[in-house]
């Protein structure tokens, strides 16, 4: 993490002046778009790609070296990618990241705990965050995810993951707030906060090129989302957190406020570092600055799997210029957390909040579980 902090001023310089040249610290991988969910908010499951093979991924990681600190292995459903465990082993071997974050729909709950355990054991110095999707309670979850019985499988998966004896494992819950569940947000929060997960995060459903949802009206209205987010912020602020959780929860509150601001102003409220500090590699080897725009900078197969050749290309510069000129804006959580880290006023507010202990006292099940190692809670 210290290494990341050291790089922040360099990324700010890089975004402003194009120097020094930096590889991203936050990388999302989508090894496969295949998914066994049928969500109302996502159409990625219909996609089929000529997916990168494990040996190809290995060469990509080799070219990245130690640059990325935070990997998100996304999908589709990541556990449908047969080589998920060796993929994580390969990225760990070459990149030694601090965080490996994997979301899941829990449908393959019988094999997920075993694979998670294998990942945790073979990546001992990385924080492994498994975020279980939860968009409603009971049948409401099943309806939004398009799969009967999904909620029950979520609960089974959650229990099994909590029973794993892996000190570097963090089991979180992740909700997408869409027009289909925004009215049930209180019920969802009650359940999620009561579940004793290591973290609870929400994200607004938004259109993405990656998910093939451009033009599809899935986002809740601004007013309804503002209500849902105020409710969530109030719950977080009623709790008290200790140690690193104070920092992560303070960032989380900042994120939710930022989303409201972006929805209201419809512009980049803080500078976006997608294309500088964060990026995505899609299943077929395309490199994107982010999954919202999904600009194809080039394909790794065409450059001998050398990420830097794409990242430092004129095409990447062209897309960066577009992002810098605020030709886009969005609330994508993954990129937003990196953006906040690069935004000194946000970092200062978080610092002041932590130092001033303005987060009230805790016993909260969400954010920190005293029975687990303090090192298990990360951003």
């Amino acid at each position: 993490m210290i290494d990341v902090m050291r790089k922040i001023p360099l990324f700010i310089l890089n975004r402003r002046f194009g120097w020094p040249k930096m590889l991203p610290i936050n990388l999302t991988l989508s090894p496969s778009p295949r998914c066994n969910s049928r969500c109302l908010t996502c159409n990625i499951w219909m996609k089929r790609e000529d997916e990168l093979r494990l040996d190809e991924w290995d060469r990509v990681f080799q070219s990245l070296g130690r640059a990325p600190f935070w990997f998100t292995v996304s999908g589709g459903e990541p556990f449908m990618f047969r080589d998920l465990v060796p993929l994580c082993q390969s990225l760990y071997k070459h990149c030694k990241p601090g965080i490996i974050n994997i979301p899941t729909n829990s449908l393959m709950y019988k094999i997920i705990p075993g694979k998670v355990e294998a990942i945790c054991k073979s990546c001992p110095d990385a924080q492994v965050i498994i975020n279980l999707s939860l968009d409603g309670v009971g049948e409401k979850h099943d309806r939004i995810r398009g799969i009967p019985g999904n909620f029950e499988k979520f609960e089974q998966n959650f229990r099994a993951l909590r029973e794993l004896n892996c000190p570097n494992l963090n089991v979180g819950i992740h909700s997408v707030i869409s027009r289909f569940n925004v009215d049930d947000a209180r019920e969802l929060y009650d359940y999620a906060f009561g579940a004793k997960s290591d973290s609870y995060i929400t994200e607004i459903a938004e259109q993405r090129v990656e998910l093939d949802t451009v033009g599809v009206d899935i986002t809740p209205t601004r007013d309804k989302y503002a209500w849902a987010i105020d409710e969530l912020i109030a719950r977080i602020e009623r709790r008290k957190f200790r140690g690193i959780s104070q920092v992560t929860e303070a960032f989380r509150v900042e994120y939710y406020k930022l989303v409201k601001e972006i929805l209201s102003e419809e512009t980049q409220s803080i500078p976006c570092f997608a294309g500088w500090a964060s990026a995505q590699i899609y299943a077929n080897g395309e490199v994107w600055p982010c999954c919202i725009r999904a600009d194809n900078l080039a394909n790794l197969r065409d450059v001998d799997y050398d990420f830097g050749r794409i990242w430092f290309s004129p095409e990447a510069d062209r897309v960066r210029t577009s992002i810098r000129n605020k030709e886009c804006h969005c609330t994508l959580a993954n990129a937003s957390y990196t953006n906040m880290l690069m935004h000194l006023p946000t970092v200062a507010r978080v610092g002041a909040k932590v130092v001033g202990s303005s987060l009230p006292v805790l016993n909260g099940p969400v954010g920190v579980d005293p029975s687990r190692s303090p090192s298990t809670t990360k951003i």
Binding site: G215, T219, H329
Partner: protein
């Protein structure tokens, strides 16, 4: 609520396999009983009259106009795109 910039962003020039690739996956999505009900053509304020005549209608992937639209007169080539139409949109906006 929808991002206006994104609607325009997807109206980039497409490769020659775009229509085949997208319509094939929508066809598969409908067969697999997802929430997709059909496909629409996304046009912009700057689209030519020929393209604009296809806007609004919901097509089965088998019957959708092929992008680039034949006869499109837009300078620099057709910039239309497809979008999935979901069954809940139909329930709310019956035609």
């Amino acid at each position: 609520m929808q991002w206006r910039w994104l609607q325009d962003h997807v109206r980039k020039p497409k490769d020659s396999l775009y229509a085949q690739r997208v319509l094939e996956r929508y066809r598969m999505g409908m067969k697999a009983r997802g929430a997709i009900r059909g496909v629409q053509v996304i046009v912009g304020d700057d689209s030519c009259p020929i393209c604009r005549q296809y806007a609004g209608a919901v097509y089965h992937p088998d019957d959708a106009p092929i992008i680039p639209i034949t006869g499109c007169t837009q300078q620099g080539g057709c910039r239309c795109a497809y979008r999935a139409v979901m069954d809940y949109e139909e329930a709310e906006n019956p035609r």
